[in-house]
């Protein structure tokens, strides 16, 4: 199953500005975070992209998309109804087709030639069901992510069959339900923010949305948890890094990684050393 559509969510009323920030990509070109995400998506062979946006941000997003603007479908989520609801808003765009789902407040940097999106699609091509990208995450960050319980697929060291999905578990619960042999102690597989999903997801979301009240909020986790119980749902540990550009210094870390991954690596490293040498020591954080 190879999707050719992608959905990117960017409808958060408080964080919709994040993908609009400008960085310098690994080639040294100034681009918005959104543009960098879209570069990856289109480079991986996907043909069309829908972005679920916050009302009133259409123009800003079209501007930020740069050369990709014409290939985008922008869909407004009318209110803050949750991540699952935002995905559901793109149901007409995806139709009955499989699609790749990404978030707009993360940047991904592959450790290989092949981008993260491409790595995900490579596994999706050999599997009929959903595939989620995951990465080992320390228990102190569990409150930020959906986390899976899974078993390893024999002979495929980075592929897992998902048994359960729990949104932002406490380490107490994670230790009871989500331990995966082979991971370091205190580490769990958390979502990477990138999924390859089937139309079953939209169908399940549709059912849940029909049951939610006017002011209800719907996450994606219940649907993914449902998938884990009802079909063969895989997860893969990608060879790449994820940067949350919404957290403190997240953008800086993303920028550094991008700069160090390109031809200007030496220049950036030299500058870093110089900055470090001349910086004034501040108060040490405890």
């Amino acid at each position: 199953m190879i999707p050719n559509k992608a959905v990117v969510t960017a409808a958060s009323p408080t964080e919709h500005h994040l993908p609009l920030q400008t960085l310098v990509d690994s080639e040294g070109l100034a681009k918005t975070a959104l543009e960098i995400i879209l570069d990856d998506i289109f480079a991986a062979g996907l043909e069309s992209v829908a972005i679920v946006i916050h009302p009133g941000t259409r123009e800003a997003y079209l501007d930020a998309a740069g050369s990709h603007a014409e290939r985008l479908t922008l869909i407004e989520q009318k209110g803050p109804r949750g991540y699952g609801h935002a995905v559901w808003c793109a149901r007409e765009f995806t139709g009955g087709d499989p699609f790749v789902l990404l978030v707009s407040d993360h940047l991904y940097l592959s450790c290989e030639e092949s981008s993260c999106v491409r790595q995900l699609l490579a596994l999706a091509a050999s599997h009929d069901g959903c595939v989620s990208a995951v990465n080992p995450t320390h228990e102190s960050k569990l409150h930020l992510y959906g986390t899976i319980g899974a078993t390893r697929v024999p002979a495929s060291p980075s592929i897992f069959e998902v048994n359960t999905v729990i949104e932002k578990p406490t380490p107490t619960l994670a230790e009871q339900e989500l331990i995966i042999p082979g991971l370091r102690a205190g580490n769990y597989l958390c979502f990477f923010g990138m999924h390859s999903l089937t139309s079953a997801v939209m169908e399940h979301l549709d059912t849940l949305v029909s049951k939610m009240g006017e002011s209800g909020v719907l996450g994606l986790t219940p649907t993914l948890a449902h998938l884990a119980k009802s079909e063969k749902y895989l997860a893969t540990e990608l060879a790449g890094q994820r940067f949350n550009i919404g957290e403190r210094y997240g953008l800086l870390k993303a920028q550094l990684s991008l700069a160090l991954a390109g031809p200007h690596r030496d220049e950036v490293l030299t500058d870093l050393i110089e900055i470090t040498a001349h910086s004034r020591p501040g108060c040490q954080s405890s």
Binding site: E139, S140, T170, P171, T172, E175, G186, S286
Partner: protein, 1075 residues
């Protein structure tokens, strides 16, 4: 192959469960020594934890019970001090190696066997405790808390609902309400962790969650345990216990881990075990504020409040464990560790709370059974041990898992009508006794792992009875249930641990039977032992009447026995109802009004007392002053001791002989070893004839020292040890007094005469002893029976920091298990703070008057006999009196033995002291040559810790006194005694006392408060000791070595089981004629 090893390793249950003792009984000394060697080798190599532990218990039992009787009496052996030091520092394997090396050098002997027994015993329990500890940490859901060491890594966040403000600006309060649990049967203490992990099939408990109210006080039963949590706008933890009237504002991580600093240890343990302040962060040097910022929010903190609705301590309803569970529950809910903030918990969440409560008990240095958190579950449940299987951390290590499983009976299994019927028949009470159940749990563990025959049979019966109890509940036949619980109590429970009952319980049962006849359906022991929480089952139509009657019966029995048994409070009758929900939480809406009324009262009181805070006055007035005046308090002496204490002239360190003194073991010619004589020897026969003639001529009297409170016997509860009905002997509970009289009766009957028996008493024991003897008609004692009231008393003082530090830091101390040691260190540091704030050397007056006084040492017992006219009365009645036999109240084997009496007379000693060969547990000095002269040296006076280990004989305190020589020593004559010139007598005795050293001691004294709560304070007192008369050359002292059974003392209830097993009880019974 070794027979005993075969028992341990056999795959056949009939062999594996064979009784250890029956195999040992048939072995010779050589065979036992060979078996010991094989077992020791095995325990070093065995991988399986429980096989190792069984080998250790076997080794303990061989050295404690089976070898001593087979060892040659002339091979005493010397315990190496190095081994003792290893024991004190909990290096048990090294201690064993040291003792075994000594055995190979000296040969096997009684002393070394006692040391080995102790080391094997300790190592066995340490191995078991370590395993429980490992398992607690390994439980999934607990592990992360040990990894987390920095606030930045803290993964928990407070639920937003608790952070939101209401219209009035206050925040919501989350309340957890939890019932307590009562156990219909614990199948013979099978819920002890070790036992559940050894034999999970046998670990079964029928446990009921109940709401509670005090009959006549509360309108209706409700879940007695409440935990409240709210967010505060300060980056601190405020912990408050409404019942203990204590509150603390904690702003550092170190203080969270300081459990014994105040009464809030349980709340702190909950904060830790719930993961708010995870155990991994202890000692990290981080700030509590940073941690709270991460979990609660910047500038915010938490307030946690506990309340148990005045349910007293010792209720056997697991109040503290369920309170811990409630506190953990509310904190886990608030941090998203359960799926819902309110309502009951789901099964997996209850299990998690259980795991955390076990962790919390371990962190807090306490320990309960695994059924104790039963209140977290609803209704009636069967809790069972679980065999370890693949994936469990216990797999391959122990047969069972740490955590049990819970089956909650539905109404399809135990119908509502049965539950109702139980409620209508059961009268639940607290008898008022608060005792430490710890020694009993150790005894049970030991017996089960040894598969002692009677106890193992008891265990099997208890398991069958549990099934019967379930059947009676299913059928709703409460009368049959009463029969089964009574049968459980009378049968298995007491065949396993006779000490589970006591005279108070037996009195209550007897009275209930007599008052209600056929309508009294049965007795039900709750928890580990009786005397505190108990159940009495009655025909339902008489329940209300029975509640009233039981209150009266308990109060009367308590009044009768309050000087003999340790009571912590007035008995109460409860109202109860089965709780169908288990632990459950609710939001209480807006702020302060949601908190219990008692909390508001408490905070107001605490504010008030903080404003009025000042050191206690230490003023001696009222009834304390009267008591001092009545009991011969010497104000002048007291002030001079205080001045010396503050000046440092007398101190704990000053008790010791100078370091230049040489302390050596005595030579063989310094003692007469009675084992070297036997019937048929002319010296023996001559002595016996002489002794018999003296008895027949009425020349002998017995003096039993009965002035003491038995501090070790009741943990400083201030009862009279002499009156304690310590054990059932020949079918009845016997007090120490009755036992001593029974021995005198037998001697008198054999001598065809009567034998005067004197009990020397003190301010604490005179009145109760007189009353008690009157109430039992002097036990029908035929001879003269006299009570010699005390004539001297001291007033306790607040200790100095110097002496406390010396006692706790300089003197040898038994290092405790890691967490218990932390608790002890923390408590001691708080007590040093108390001593400083209450003024060092000040009079100790902040307790009941009787608890502020102290006896001034047993030297004064014979002088008192002279001063109070008792000796005069005796001499008037029998001028031929020549010899007194003086002994401690707990030396149960001492009697007027005609042979020893004859030998004493033959030797012409002024004082003949009876010595026993020293065992490891015989601490406190003994017979030594000091600078070349044989004398008794008190433990306090030993110049260093090692010196005591150089000496072979321990002083039993039993002394034969030649009356005339003693009077001469004091500068008195028989005529002076008869003339009774008080001034002259007092002057002479004071002069004698002045020649003896004064020792400063630190004693623990209990202070009771609240609902059965007790605090223990160290206080300073002084004493002069009888054995120091041996310093005086003109006292003309001699020393006989007597058999251990005659000279050993019963100091601690934990000794009772061994006392019963090792032949001591049988020996004493053989000396008694109960009349």
């Amino acid at each position: 192959m070794s027979k005993l090893l075969n028992i341990i390793t056999s795959g056949d249950p009939s062999v594996r469960n064979a009784a250890f003792a029956s195999v040992c009984d048939g072995l010779t000394l050589e065979e036992l020594l060979e078996e010991s060697e094989a077992l020791d080798q095995f325990r070093r190599e065995a991988d399986n934890l429980y096989e190792r532990v069984r080998a250790l218990f076997f080794l303990y039992a061989i050295h404690r019970f089976h070898l001593p009787s087979k060892l040659s009496v002339d091979r005493i052996g010397r315990i190496p001090f190095e081994g003792h030091e290893h024991l004190l520092n909990r290096r048990f394997t090294e201690a064993i190696d040291t003792f075994l090396a000594a055995v190979s050098q000296q040969g096997a002997g009684d002393s070394l066997s006692s040391a080995l027994a102790s080391a094997y015993h300790e190592l066995a329990f340490q191995t078991l405790a370590n395993q429980v500890r490992k398992s607690v940490r390994a439980v999934r859901g607990n592990q992360w808390m040990f990894r987390m060491g920095h606030p930045a890594d803290h993964p928990l966040r407070l639920a937003p609902e608790l952070l939101e403000r209401a219209h009035d600006g206050t925040r919501a309060v989350l309340r957890e309400q939890t019932p307590v649990r009562m156990d219909l049967s614990h199948s013979g203490w099978s819920d002890i962790f070790f036992l559940g992990m050894d034999f999970p099939e046998g670990a079964r408990v029928l446990n009921v969650s109940v709401d509670l109210g005090v009959n006549g006080r509360d309108a209706e039963p409700k879940p007695p345990i409440e935990a409240y949590l709210r967010v505060i706008d300060e980056p601190v933890l405020i912990l408050t216990s409404v019942d203990l009237k204590a509150s603390a504002r904690i702003d550092s991580l170190g203080e969270v881990f300081d459990f014994a600093k105040d009464y809030l240890g349980l709340l702190k343990a909950a904060v830790i075990a719930a993961g708010i302040v995870p155990p991994g962060i202890e000692g990290s040097g981080q700030k509590l504020e940073s941690l709270l910022e991460r979990v609660v929010g910047p500038g915010k903190g938490l307030e946690l409040i506990s309340s148990v609705n005045g349910i007293p301590k010792g209720s056997r309803l697991a109040v503290s464990t369920n309170l811990l569970a409630a506190l953990i529950g509310v904190l886990m809910r608030a941090t998203g560790q359960t799926s819902s903030l309110t309502g009951p918990l789901q099964e997996n969440e209850r299990r998690l709370v259980l795991a955390r409560a076990i962790l919390g008990e371990w962190i807090g240095g306490s320990g309960g059974g695994w059924q104790d958190s039963g209140g977290v579950w609803p209704g009636i449940k069967l809790i069972s041990g679980q065999a370890a299987s693949e994936g469990d951390p216990e797999m391959g290590i122990s047969r069972g898992c740490l955590m049990p499983t819970h089956h909650v009976f539905g109404e399809d299994e135990i119908p509502a009508s049965s539950r109702q019927a139980l409620q209508e028949s059961l009268v639940l009470v607290h008898g008022g006794m608060a005792q430490n159940v710890g020694p009993i749990l150790e005894m049970v563990t030991e017996k089960y792992l040894l598969r002692s025959e009677a106890e193992w049979k008891g265990r099997t019966e208890a398991l069958a009875l549990l099934d019967e109890l379930i059947a009676t509940m299913v059928a709703g036949d409460i009368k049959a249930l009463g029969r089964a619980t009574t049968q459980n109590f009378r049968g298995p429970i007491q065949s396993i641990i006779p000490w589970a009952t006591n005279l108070f319980t037996e009195t209550l049962i007897e009275e209930a039977e007599s008052a209600f006849g056929e309508d009294f359906w049965g007795f039900w022991m709750l928890g580990g032992m009786s005397g505190g929480g108990m159940g009495f089952i009655f025909a339902p139509e008489r329940k209300a009447e029975a509640q009233q009657a039981m209150q009266r019966i308990m109060s009367e029995a308590k009044k009768k026995l309050q000087h003999a048994l340790p009571f912590a409070m007035e008995p109460v009758v409860y109202d109860f109802a089965i709780n169908a929900e288990g632990t459950s939480a609710q939001f209480l809406g807006e702020g302060g009004s949601a908190l219990p009324e008692a909390y508001s009262r408490l905070t107001a009181e605490l504010k008030q007392s903080a404003q009025n805070e000042e050191a206690p006055s230490g003023e001696v007035s009222g009834s304390l002053r009267r008591l001092l005046d009545e009991h011969g308090f010497d104000e002048e002496l007291h002030e001079s001791i205080r001045a010396d204490l503050l000046a440092g002239t007398i101190s704990l360190a000053g008790n010791r002989l100078p370091a230049t003194a040489t302390v050596e073991d005595v030579d063989q010619e310094d003692v007469l070893d009675l084992s070297s004589l036997s019937a048929g020897d002319s010296r023996f026969d001559r002595a016996r004839a002489k002794g018999e003639a003296a008895i027949a001529a009425g020349e002998v009297a017995v003096v039993s020292l009965a002035a003491g409170a038995g501090s070790r016997w009741t943990g400083g509860a201030g009862t009279c040890k002499a009156l304690n009905p310590f054990a059932p002997l020949d079918g009845c509970y016997r007090t120490f007094i009755e036992t001593h009289l029974a021995k005198s009766r037998q001697v008198a009957a054999q001598g065809g005469t009567d034998l005067p028996h004197v009990f020397t008493t003190s301010y604490l024991t005179t009145q109760p002893t007189n009353d008690f003897l009157a109430s039992v008609g002097n036990y029908g004692y035929e001879g003269p029976l006299l009570v010699s009231p005390g004539r001297s008393v001291g007033l306790r003082m607040i200790p100095t920091e110097r002496d406390l530090r010396f006692a706790w830091e300089e003197m040898p101390q038994q290092l405790l298990d890691e967490q218990q040691q932390k608790m002890r260190d923390s408590a001691r540091s708080a007590l040093i703070g108390w001593a400083k704030s209450a003024r060092e050397g000040a009079d100790y007056t902040d307790n009941l008057p009787l608890q502020c006084l102290h006896p001034v040492g047993h030297f004064y017992e014979i002088p008192n006999l002279i001063l109070n006219g008792t000796l005069r009365n005796l001499l008037q009645e029998r001028p031929q009196l020549k010899t007194l036999l003086l002994h401690n109240i707990d030396t149960l084997g001492a009697n007027v033995d005609s042979t020893i009496l004859g030998l004493h007379r033959d030797a012409g000693h002024g004082l003949t002291f009876e010595m026993i060969t020293r065992r490891l547990e015989d601490r406190g000095g003994g017979l030594a040559r000091v600078d070349g002269h044989p004398r008794l040296v008190e433990g306090l006076a030993m110049p260093n810790d090692e010196a005591e280990f150089e000496i072979s004989y321990y002083n039993s305190m039993t002394t034969w006194i030649d009356l005339d020589q003693f009077l001469q020593l004091a500068g008195l004559t028989r005529e002076d005694i008869l003339a009774h010139d008080e001034g002259k007598l007092a002057g002479a005795l004071r002069s004698l006392a002045d020649r003896l050293p004064t020792y400063l001691t630190i004693k623990d004294v209990k202070k009771r408060w609240g609902h059965g709560q007790e605090d223990v304070f160290p206080v300073t007192q002084f004493e002069k000791l009888w054995g120091d008369l041996t310093i005086l050359p003109e006292a003309n002292c001699g020393f006989f070595v007597v058999p251990r059974l005659r000279g050993q003392q019963l100091k601690d209830p934990a000794q009772l089981d061994g006392w019963l097993t090792d032949g001591s009880a049988a020996y004493v019974r053989g000396l008694c004629d109960w009349g």
